[in-house]
Symmetry: D2
């Protein structure tokens, strides 16, 4: 069981609400995923278009909402957005995303640290989305982040764990849960993150943009559980020389 | 459901019997894996040491046995071994492994093709273990193999799908089931093989050599199912430019 | 200095003649590459279109010609082609390529071995182009091949050394020179092959299809030399923990 | 020719002075490398042990010295160290390294930005060593850095360009030269960095720790030149389907 700042989660798969073709499909996929933490963009929280009715579809799910600040460009905007989110959703949970770069949506290390420091003092439970930068992760932890969310590869790229070597260091050093976010495009990527000891993963695009989001959600659910189970049962290490599974030599010699 | 030469399998995880610390543990792991096809070295079939009693532990499982020729060095030895296996286990199923190289256990393309041709004529249902060589796979198919078993990486290496680019071609071209064998060291590797369209995987060492084989077997079971499910729901393709999951721009501009 | 069957080569970069935009440009690039062994398709040898005049441009170069059998589908066709080549070019050297698959041009292991056996008996100095299959390489060596040419990745793919783990085994085991062929799309790929101990590389497309073939040829020349030099000076091994280049601790403490 | 803040360099290979077995060997390797910018730890600048006599060996070389702040843990220490360096070496050039983590020597994004801002105002020409973080690189550029030095992989790891996908973005976006630093363990790594458009690389351990540093230095020199040349001549892109180098079909059909 995963514990983030006293909240317990049975599921280590965090999900998102973007990019689904309909709210109904979104809700079915979220349910199939077993996810207990679902991120939602503040911008959408703020909309009150009745035809959209996102919140109607998020109501009474078996999950908490994790508002995110996607779209803000600096700490000041992030703090303002966080306050709106707290009021609208009645939650202290916050996924902090600050990306001044509109093309690759890469997070801003310095502004993210600054915002985390302030938001933590204001009582927010901050999940910062950041580069897979081991020193930054430690500093965010010191600043009061309840978890760190290093990226696996550029957002929406489906490239998997390109930051593998740095995630290893982050996981080794972190005292708060490490949630791998961004770039996870396949269940095998999610399983790999769990196998290496990540505490959770956040998956959105790979589920939402699938032709069959419900089925894909279920695939990710199982892959995350499989990866965690393998981590607990301890993976074998890669080796260079062959080691036969079956007794090799002398079969016919002995007859 | 997977069909290999008219035999139907609910599970796409094939397993092995080598390297377990005890026969009891082996049987528990095999049951936990849900595997319906379990390979066993002929040498061990041939043993009748009562204290070992491998077959007692394989009896009445929810799986078929797939005898393998591990330990033979050429087609002639393989054919002799196959006949012994058929008699001992009363099955036409045969995993054909010919590896003259005692260090890396790499399969021999030429002897494997020769043996497959003869064994198919003798009524065997041959599953040849081979290099991830697309042309060879087609020739084995033409020679009557009921499936092909290209390697992911050197046996026992746990290095995963190092032959990815060649497996893709094999899967694209094959008319018989493609079973990725050797090198699968983690559930994420098995999931990746299934995601790319492999029909099944064979896993032995990674389960047997785990400190907790039963749990690891279950992890592989789930990962294989997850990977297959993702294949059916269609994976997103890797892209180079970021695509945001959440509506990105203009959050604060609109307030 | 590289020796293949008593022929000495100063350059470890073998090149090809396909895909250049003109014969003049081809010749300039070949000269810039420093290559002393240049492969040429038999089909082109066989052409006598005066406007083409390939051979005029290959004359009096500082290189030997290595006719290849590209386009043949089996051993029989290969042997016939080899005889034509010997007659036309007055050389026993032969790059043996047998690829029945018109899409990926993957080599045929079985036919290649069969043709090598026969051609070696007929006095040809055979350079077989094959999959990175360690056992096959040893068998070709036993059959009389003067070198082996395992592929790095699919022909024309520019994907580099996807077969790295298998090339390592081949290089470790081979008693004849190992020439990495196919898939080398960048000088860094060629350098990597040399660093790991390959005896030579064959590069064609990456030079010929460059907008500036002469410059690219020179780049490959230098990269091959650099890679070989690094192999001789011994590369450091990858490590997991950081090791500082500069004396790290205590700088200010001591002031 | 590379220009960094009005200084012109013929060589795109920057080197270091750590880890050589003797100062004499260091000097010979630096000369063989052709490097025109050589980094040296401030701590060593500060030493006046005559038996060491590092500076005697660095005198009158064909290179400038680039003092680095290796060993400092925050901006304040870095600024102090920079001032000492300027005085001791009479240069405004400064490689800024701030790594509070003694195990992996990962750089600190926030302190590095802070120090860069201050040092630039003080007239230093700052080369900050940092994570391959695209947003941070842009901020350092805005803060007055004359170049950025993103890491390829953990320092001393020899793992090559593990940050490839992020380096691509950095190179695409940067208006100051991008120098790939750390993790470059082989000439092929250096060539790859140049091929992708990096302006220079910094190599230290891989040369200094080689059994033959002079030869290895020369190998890196050539690889860097080869990679740059290939970048200028434009590399072919990786493709998935085979494209034959030689005219493929119909060889024998036409006879």
């Amino acid at each position: 069981m995963l514990t983030v700042d006293n909240i317990q989660f049975n599921s280590r798969l965090f999900t998102g609400t973007g990019k689904f073709s309909s709210n109904k499909e979104m809700r079915e996929a979220l349910d199939a995923s077993g996810s207990e933490l679902v991120t939602v963009a503040l911008k959408r929280v703020n909309e009150h278009r009745p035809e959209e009715d996102l919140f109607h579809h998020l109501r009474e799910g078996n999950f908490r909402l994790l508002p995110n600040t996607s779209g803000v460009r600096n700490a000041k905007e992030a703090i303002f957005a966080a306050q709106l989110a707290r009021e609208a959703l009645q939650t202290d949970l916050l996924k902090l995303e600050i990306h001044p770069d509109p093309k690759y949506l890469m997070p801003d290390a310095v502004e993210t640290l600054k915002a985390t420091e302030e938001l933590a003092k204001m009582g927010f439970k901050v999940f910062p989305y950041i580069h897979a930068d081991p020193v930054l992760c430690k500093r965010l932890e010191d600043a009061g982040a309840v978890a760190v969310m290093p990226l696996g590869s550029p957002i929406g790229s489906n490239l998997g764990l390109k930051t593998f070597d740095f995630l290893k260091i982050i996981i080794e050093q972190s005292r708060v849960p490490v949630v791998v976010d961004a770039g996870i495009g396949a269940p095998s990527h999610a399983a790999q993150a769990m196998e290496m000891g990540a505490d959770a993963v956040l998956v959105n695009t790979a589920i939402a943009a699938s032709p069959d989001p419900v089925r894909m959600a279920k695939a990710f659910k199982m892959a995350v559980e499989a990866g965690r189970m393998a981590y607990e049962a301890k993976l074998a290490q890669p080796v260079q020389h062959a080691v036969a599974s079956s007794p090799l030599t002398g079969f016919l010699d002995e007859d």
